[in-house]
């Protein structure tokens, strides 16, 4: 059961859970704020649309194509 941090809050998820799913399990599901200030959440779920890009351990990655791992620090884009 991977233990991670989502925007600083601890979260424990089932093995095989994507970071995109973790956004919904540990928060409101959103991943970033668009350039005109709208909150956005994962859209395509398959690595195309880039809506779900978040910072994972300091590097920008796609939440929908990343599995949660122990100790991961996930930050959504304010």
């Amino acid at each position: 059961m991977p233990d991670l941090h989502l925007d600083g809050r601890p979260l424990c998820v089932a093995p095989g859970t994507t970071v995109a799913a973790a956004l919904a399990l540990g928060g409101d599901g959103s991943s970033r704020t668009s350039i005109s200030g709208q909150r956005r959440a994962p859209l395509c779920g398959m690595g195309i649309c880039q809506e779900c890009r978040v910072s994972i351990d300091g590097v920008r990655r796609l939440a929908c194509q990343t599995l949660c791992q122990d100790g991961m620090q996930v930050e959504t884009q304010a």
Binding site: V13, A14, P15, G16, T17, T18, A20, A21, A22, A24, L25, D28, G29, S30, S34, I35, S36, Q38, R39, R40, A41, P42, L43, C44, G45, M46, G47, I48, C49, Q50, E51, R53, V59, R60, R61, C64, Q65, T66, L67
Partner: protein
């Protein structure tokens, strides 16, 4: 830092997995890449809440166990690295893979079209919803509306219901007659996935299209239209997909000819670029059975075993007929070109409204003056929408094909300089 493959396969969905096994069984050293963390592609997507069919599990296990197959997960192709070499990246590193033959099994993605409210959190693609649920997103007791076109809507509804959601409406844009004709033909193709669909779901409506997603900061409901009748439904999620479009970008970048917006292949699954093959949905939508047999053909041919490949032609032909029927009956109604309002964002990366893009004569001018397509997705969403909405043909991608760490791009120096 570089790796070599006799046969390099891009995409580990049904086509890629079966291509890998066929080529490896013919003695080739195979490298199989996929940008997802787990193999299976979209249709056999694995995850915390996934239950993949036994056929898929068996194929996957055979690939995993095969000593001639090296599989790289969560690995993307980001650039060409000279002739017969690609630069790839995973979360840890970037490196170059050289190959003798290349098989593109890059699959398809959903056509996502703009409509008022489509940027609200809670709105996803139809395949996107399925992928998110399989990846562990909870939907228990959520009210979900699914809209758009094609059998994927039903597959998505099936997954949502299976995980405890209440699917309050499935809005299929195609008219009843077309869908019924398609459904009547289904018994001719004993197709496991389609058999599980309930076309007569109480919430299923044909000739119905999405008008707007409603809500302020997140989705609260939807407005649908059927003929002159408008209905509003409260819901927590809306999943929208308007059919599939083949992922042809890598093929385009390698110079492969396209036809019907898909990578063109001959009877050997060969593209017009020597040593490059393609199989599965990137060559046109046909479902997993067609992808499996195309993958096997491509795998055998790439490994030099044309006899084995030719023996599979009959099986492929059978599934091609099914694909033809599917594409014919879910043709998009032209009214879908007018879903967006002038202020609806067309480009979600750069927040460019529909009207600003529509004011231009072509994609390049629109890009330069509005920044549409210049964000992180590089037009993969809005460019595909603009192709459908305005008939602007998609342009071949330049490296990097996808957002790529600069440290990875630096790997191109050693790789391609010898080539130069």
């Amino acid at each position: 830092m570089s790796e070599h493959a006799d046969v390099l396969i891009i995409g580990a969905g049904p086509a890629g997995l079966s291509a890998a096994l066929a080529a490896a069984n013919d003695g080739a050293q195979v490298v199989l890449l996929d940008d997802n963390p787990l193999p299976g592609g979209q249709i056999w997507r694995d995850g915390a809440q996934a239950n993949i069919p036994s056929q898929a599990r068996h194929l996957r296990d055979s690939v995993e166990a095969h000593t001639h197959i090296q599989r790289h997960a969560a690995t993307r192709v980001v650039a060409k690295a000279g002739s017969q070499a690609l630069l790839v990246e995973n979360p840890e590193r970037g490196w170059v893979i050289t190959y003798r033959s290349l098989i593109l099994c890059t699959g398809a993605r959903e056509l996502l079209l703009p409509f008022p409210g489509w940027t609200l959190p809670g709105v996803t693609g139809a395949g996107g919803l399925q992928a998110l649920i399989k990846g562990g997103m909870p939907v228990v007791d959520e009210r979900i509306v699914i809209a758009g076109s094609g059998p994927l809507l039903l597959a998505s509804a099936d997954t949502a219901k299976h995980h405890g959601a209440q699917v309050v409406r499935i809005a299929e844009q195609a008219p009843l007659g077309a869908v019924a004709t398609f459904a009547m033909q289904l018994p001719r193709w004993p197709h496991k996935l389609l058999q599980s669909f309930s076309l007569f779901d109480a919430g299923y409506r044909t000739g119905t299209r999405i008008v707007a997603a409603l809500g302020q900061d997140h989705l609260e409901g939807v407005r649908l239209q059927r003929g002159n009748k408008v209905e509003e439904l409260a819901c927590e999620r809306l999943a929208c997909g308007f059919g599939l479009i083949p992922n042809v970008q890598l093929g385009q970048a390698l110079g492969c000819a396209l036809g019907n917006n898909a990578i063109q292949v001959d009877a050997w699954q060969a593209t017009d670029v020597a040593g490059v093959y393609a199989a599965g949905e990137c060559t046109g939508f046909g479902g997993s059975e067609l992808a499996l047999v195309e993958g096997r053909i491509a795998g055998h041919v790439a490994a030099g075993n044309r006899e084995a490949a030719q023996r599979l032609w009959g099986e492929r032909q059978r599934w091609q007929r099914f694909a033809g029927s599917l594409n014919q009956h879910f043709a998009l109604d032209p009214t879908l070109k007018h879903l967006a309002a002038p202020d609806t964002l067309l480009c979600r990366c750069e927040d460019v409204p529909y009207a600003a893009v529509a004011a231009h004569a072509n994609w390049r001018e629109a890009k330069l003056s509005t920044r549409c397509g210049m964000g992180a997705c590089q037009g993969k969403v809005c460019g595909a929408a603009a192709h459908y909405l305005f008939d602007w043909p998609p342009v071949a991608p330049r490296p990097p094909f996808t957002p790529t760490r600069i440290e990875t791009l630096i790997q191109l120096e050693s790789a391609a300089q010898s080539e130069h």
